[in-house]
Symmetry: C2
Subunit: 405 residues, 2 copies
Amino acid sequence: MGVIVQKFGGTSVGDAERIRAVANHVARTRRAGNDVVVVVSAMGKFTDDLLRLADDVSPNRPPREIDMLLTAGERISMALVCMALAAEGIEASSFTGSQAGIITDDEHTRAKILEVRPDRIREALRDGHVAVVAGFQGVSASRDITTLGRGGSDVTAVAMAAALNADVCEIYTDVTGVFTADPRVVPKARRLARVSFDEMMEMAATGGRVLMLRSVEYARRHNVPLHVRSSFTWEPGTWIVEEDSDMEQAVVSAVTDDTSEAKVTVSGVPDRPGVAARLFGELAQRGVNLDMIVQNTSENGLTDISFTVALTDVDAARGACEAVREEVGAAKVSTDSNVGRVTVVGAGMKSNPGVTALMFETLSNIGVNIEMISTSSIRISCVVRADRVEESVRALHTAFGLDAS
Amino acid sequence: MGVIVQKFGGTSVGDAERIRAVANHVARTRRAGNDVVVVVSAMGKFTDDLLRLADDVSPNRPPREIDMLLTAGERISMALVCMALAAEGIEASSFTGSQAGIITDDEHTRAKILEVRPDRIREALRDGHVAVVAGFQGVSASRDITTLGRGGSDVTAVAMAAALNADVCEIYTDVTGVFTADPRVVPKARRLARVSFDEMMEMAATGGRVLMLRSVEYARRHNVPLHVRSSFTWEPGTWIVEEDSDMEQAVVSAVTDDTSEAKVTVSGVPDRPGVAARLFGELAQRGVNLDMIVQNTSENGLTDISFTVALTDVDAARGACEAVREEVGAAKVSTDSNVGRVTVVGAGMKSNPGVTALMFETLSNIGVNIEMISTSSIRISCVVRADRVEESVRALHTAFGLDAS
């Protein structure tokens, strides 16, 4: 018995039957004596349908109106979930982001939560109701409707759990938890019972598709235990919690892969102070988010600077580099979209110096060339050719003893 | 140049092309120098689709959640209208019922507007924006989302026009105005250029399908000139305004028909004080709205009481009458669904005593029997057999000189 936040994504509330299944599960959680807050996304592909409709209507779509449009989606799913709960004999009330007190900045289509004022949610729980909250949406200080961007519903759920000091935030999705690798790439991948926030953040940042980085960050900052599980099998999934001394620390917990990035290289760059600052300043000003950055050692006073960016940002990145190329005296800007990244993540890596060596050796054994390397205390990432990513993941999964027996 | 409220119903914003046509018309009104407030309904059959979805999900649909569900509809259409206006180079902002300050009571699915606080709408107009407001929806004092029931978007438009002291409230629909009779029944029906509020109220109450009674009542109370016109042809339609001395007063302006009611008769009722009060008290308590009521003259201390109710209320009405039948000592309760009403409406009737006679004579000439009669100073209604309604309307239309030449 406690306060439980349950978040259901678009596929979990994809049709009438799924909505009834969700209501049945919520009802059981409620009958067990828990206070339950449900956070829902828009149904299935409804958001895509709305965006297509907007496309048909106008080439000019002000962000404020995009938010007004898209927030219709959660309204529909949350009202339907409340109706299905009524059929289960459970009293429930739905709340928009605004009604739930999700206060954001005014960056339409990608707002950040500034504050949660869950007065009405507390009131509903006190009245014995299940509170069903619209994910993904909030309201700005100027009382305009905002949306939180990709992965926004997870952020809503975590923020609500933090504000209510919930015992757990359960994230229901179409997979049964967090795996040692993407099961589509590695058939022998295993579900992890527990993962630390730090590991999960590294996994999310390097291609893990289960949770977005921002919701894990939020959960870690407020120490909200997450439980990722399936709304199709309802079996227990993966807990994401603060690392503690009891935790079994696998040297490597998971291998992730990401082929959504491209590599940009500026070559023949004069190796003198201020050059990198000018280059990366220009990139930042154009809103290009960089991921890995590598600078080679200087040769004859010239160096190469490589970095990775999302495939969607390649043109903007090239434009930024070309704009400052002459000014900084660089020779050439080149881009390469046929790259991918493989990463090993593990909290136990900190006390096991041999991980890097084993990773390089494993890739070398299968003839994969490493083009860029980036590390943190619990992660090692290598950029390789895109068409070698999957076999690299499988080889590393085996080498680090993660294969299911 | 002034303040113009333009209301567009579901068919007027039924698809992307219609929405662009609406935006084009709004843009032209704005460019002519007017301050424009647009009120929109949900697109076409979207509301029906949502209700069907709710039906699939649950047999139990709390009214509060029905309102949360349905209000998604206007959100979508108003955001799309704003986007289409952006493509026309017109700055526009959408506002939910709550943001537009439509404060209602808390009767979910049929709320009444208590107050309009259009601060944000005024602000938008001051900034040179077109304000696009969600019709049909409001917010209660307890900050719950409400809907205004059938014809609610018209009420929103009229209430907004009243609060802003607008010069006109234009109601765009799929017909070109208010006609002397339903053109499907009377091919020779003519469009009226002007109708008084009183006439329009009588027409709305007796089967006129263009405007709902409540929006005309609201407009009359606040003296908001209405202009009913087509969003397909954009031609000028019918003005509904306060009656003034300049107005040409046709003896009869229109003939309406209504076959949506049934007749209930309680016969053999003792003719003594308190009996009718007990009967109608019971009907009121069960929420049955009566329309025409007729009591025959007493014979041997017994009388018959007949009244009409909406077809959907027949069972409830019969139940109420049966419940008090023995107590008041009445003989029998009977119902008859095969009735219809024909009505002639005209502000000039007040000073023309011959109207009743001409109406009865006309019906008599075609062999139609009159079962009930009800009059006001500008209206005469007769209940006749349902299958004689249409020919009665045509005969009256001709007799009162309304046929187009």
